[in-house]
Symmetry: D2
Subunit: 357 residues, 4 copies
């Protein structure tokens, strides 16, 4: 289904080449001030064509709030936001109509639905993620205003180039200072250089996003199944191209000893804290009040300019020469999506926490 | 909440030191042959005290099917399975009543619920996972009988010791051939040696489980949010001590190029296949028919015998000397849990697929 | 929340005086032929201003399918349908801004959300039901084409005027033959006369809708909670102004004896039938294959022209003289809404039945 | 499915002739004092064999709280309650194994599940409602203690005998003063006489339950779909044998005029009230703070001693002479079930209200 969340739910709709893409946000408490500009700001971080290392394809991600907001405030009714598709003229898709593109969902969609949208990916298009970013912008604003929760992502890996960022010294400004969204300027330059080279060679690369959530109240999350890390994992692995998720110590935990991994409790200023934070801000699935941090790995963009062997719909072997414009590395544009989905998870668990407290 | 799944749902209940632990399985199609022995077989792989490298604590995981099965077959009504707690005598918990154990959920539970169960962890106890294994056993049997789906997990990492297993040569027998559940006999011995040493030193280690699902029908999974990898990630990250999840190429994908990662389609015996399987059996969130494989990282057991600094409930600094018996490495016992949760996800998506086909 | 259904879900949005009203339909199987004309046809039966006995207010219920349909067929992706609001100019609402209208939701909305939309009722406006009719049109078409299910409602009571219709002789044509949607022409004339008199006197009346569903497959519905009558009841009691629901013998059942009410089984043409159908087509919550029939009672329209005592927002006693145009009897326009909601319930249970069969 | 509720959920399990019947209650806030005696008290009002006008069959409805309660208080973990079946010896079911009993679910269950439990009705047995009563007892206690909500039902109709009760003069004591649970002693005697006569004649009768909920906080319920009356309707129509539901003016509303039905607002002691309460305590689906009252119609018990024409599983015409003991009128025992389901609905909406406030 196309709905995410239990108490703060989003239902997305739209395809790359239909009339529009959008979302219904249900369960937003009444009284939150929100404007289209608040939403647009986040969308602009996601949209294609924003820099030299993203696709040159321009899409108009202009959002309109169609319901649920009156006199600048949420009313408690569902908030529908719509971005109409304007660049929906068919590009030269020629060969694509008949071919299964490697790494794409053409094959599985056609098997599942008996047809597939070859014009731009249809429902599988990354364009659909703008709906998630728009919805997340509302959650983000609510969390910031009511609880001072801050959510920030950045690119910490592109191909084999890895950054080692102290997330306590981060700021949105630093992340946005370069097109690759890596707050280490030196590493960022390397990444950009690497991506630019790949682009001209017709290839693409994977990468990873690191995200941090500060000031999450103590006690969010459920002991079994709906653990905070479980819901974050689902949210992140639902993003196009995601292949891995880890929280706190993550895969490093497999190598560690208990005496090392157990974060020691202490008390300071009347508050319980831990000296280290290998847990990543959760114990038993429930937030501790420490920073929540996690990483998401993304595969390289499946659309590449290089020729590839594949088959067509009748099973015949063909060579695919991809037309169309693409991102050589999707990861910088994934940052606002990761932040948005994280905001949705925290928001939902916050409302659940209120219900039972 | 304590329910997992949409069409094949499980609702678990029970604590370590209450009267029992169990599960209601709802949505199992009528007519499946199932016996308590089918369930018990899986539970025995999870239960404590099964080998020299697990906790010496014995628990009686004896399961009874209380409803939903008549004359050896499921009826379509909810299946309740119950394992009564028999070893619920209070061990010497002395200090635990007042102390926040590092790495445990004592602190977050107490903050969330205003109390916590200090006798064995209460709802956070690993004992509760027997309910998931029991439920998974039903899904596993259904999938095997109707679709020939096979689900098999094994330990591929303990601390820094990693196995490199060709999962096409696996068998349940090989996995079960040693207590650490690593099918590489040589590596298994190293792992056991390492764990044994840690145990006598009062420490613990993390590790990882690798799992493979064969013969999943083409077309399971949903394009957005409820992608197969997203639901698998949620299921796995909901298991106690899980810190990371990756599917297919996983975190390695971040380092790869598109021309390398894109699995090439070809046709053989009238069936569409891919030459490589970096995707891990899913494209666009939907199963391709190729093997689905994934890894789950687990942190080291939080209960250790070594002394640790921590605080008590009043915030006073204390030294915790853990009493009680524990597993020096939880990962071998996590294998059947991983398999069970995977079975639940596949089963649910199979029923969803039937609804819409 | 604003979502209805489990496998065939609708999420509605929009207010009377925002930018538009619409719905996201999720879970529609791929391959169904559907056009805007199919939807519009049903909407036209609901829209205001359609006859002399409805409100003279004209609203433009022009629907657009924004997503989920390509080349005239559903794709399996969510179907968003939008009717923009065009007649959203503020009428003379003068006094309404400050007054709690008797029988309306002004008071409860303001208490719940801290504000209320006084311009036309906001989310409580009957205009929002067009979203349900649009969604129901899709379900209706699917059910008719795949299963020959027919759903037909009519007005069987207006005030104290009751019709006694043999529903086996019904047709859509007969129902639509007069503006009050009562297929007994003689009774219909009485009803129209009564409504017209009320209208000129500034008053309103209640009434009831009878609905029949033919050719529902045997076996839909769940034994506990999600019984077919339970889900129909929820659907109907969620319609604005509904006050009662009964299925089959309904409230008459309270007066009957078992020997009279028990429908006798017999076999004809290899099919199990019952001689009577007091059950209304369901036994144990599950469809028998006999006709499902039920009635829904609606209260009189709350908006009336007569002066009424009430209070304003500060609790001061005032006299409300309603401005604005209204329906003297909402029941004829409720018919397509009842049919739509019934279609949604049957569709959802049909998909559930497919999942488990 | 066998789960009811969104934030306060119950999942029931069990059949008449399996090992037991029970429920998992999930979402109960921590800290509520609850004992088995609190639950048993409600169950005793439902159990068979409690008086001369109920079935003479004795069932042991002895309940045990198996999880979720420690030291007499709820912990926030799921509460499992179990009543083992003790009187599960097979009575003389002889003919029933092969026959479709008129009015029963034998036929629909067999069609749906490919089998049916002929021993006592299986999952369709009224015995399963004890799970709902047990769960409702917890909700009732919580609502009474935290919000002073009072829920009381009584029998207001048996066959054609109707009581006219002023529900403001009700008390549990008066309701429980006679076995038919009608607080009008004179009418109660008539009802008992009527039922006794039917019993000896081997027949049964329908009836109706009236229920009142006092002190519901203002603002519970959702504007669309999940209206309080819609959720109450679903809950009530899910009870075995229910055929109709009405709230407030109910079916009488169809005959009323707007000028009569619109409850006038006034202010008293700083509180907004209405002079009449035709609305039944809800406007726009949301509670007004006035009393919520509703009625539920039940069909006559399907099991009767009189001979009935029917068919067997092969479609052959047979005469059924019902063996087994039965209630000549189920309505007195339905009272605690109606109360329990009402408590569950209010509880769930109260938690939802807390989430969004």
């Amino acid at each position: 289904m196309n709905t995410f969340g239990k108490l703060f739910t989003i239902t997305t709709f739209g395809e790359s080449h239909g009339l529009g893409v959008g979302v219904v946000v249900d369960g937003c408490p009444a009284g939150l001030k929100i404007t289209e500009a608040d939403i647009q700001k986040e969308l602009n971080r996601r949209k294609p064509g924003q820099s030299s290392i993203t696709t040159s394809r321009k899409e108009d991600d202009k959002i309109r709030i169609m319901s649920g907001v009156t006199d600048g405030k949420t009313t408690g009714a569902p908030i529908m936001m719509l971005a109409e598709n304007r660049d929906a003229r068919s590009e030269d898709y020629g060969q694509l109509k008949e071919v299964y593109r490697p790494g794409h969902a053409d094959f599985t969609y056609e098997a599942k639905y008996g047809h597939r949208e070859w014009r731009g990916g249809g429902r599988a298009s990354a364009r659909t993620t703008l709906a998630q970013v728009a919805a997340g912008a509302i959650a983000k604003k609510y969390l910031k205003e009511k609880l001072n929760v801050e959510i920030l992502g950045f690119v910490d890996q592109v191909g084999e180039i890895k950054a080692a960022i102290d997330y306590n010294k981060l700021s949105l400004k630093k992340v946005e200072a370069n097109p690759v969204r890596c707050p280490d300027e030196k590493i960022a330059k390397e990444m950009i250089k690497f991506i630019t080279a790949l682009k001209s060679g017709g290839d693409s690369t994977g990468g990873a996003v690191f995200a941090i959530i500060k000031n999450v109240p103590l006690g969010l999350g459920s002991p079994v199944f709906d653990k905070l890390p479980a819901d974050l994992a689902k949210a992140m692995m639902g993003i196009n191209a995601a292949k891995g998720f880890e929280i706190g110590s993550g895969f490093r935990a497999a190598e560690m000893r208990g005496s090392e991994h157990n974060d020691r409790f202490y008390t300071t200023k009347g508050k319980v804290r831990t000296k280290t934070n290998f847990a990543g801000g959760v114990l038993g699935g429930i937030s501790t009040g420490e920073d929540i941090y996690f990483r998401v790995a993304f595969k390289p963009t499946s659309t590449i300019a290089k020729a590839q062997d594949t088959i067509d719909r009748r099973g015949k072997q063909v060579v695919l020469k991809a037309a169309g414009r693409h991102d050589p590395c999707i990861v910088p544009r994934a940052v606002p999506i990761v932040e948005a989905m994280a905001a949705l998870v925290i928001m939902d668990h916050y409302l659940q926490w209120k219900a039972y407290k």
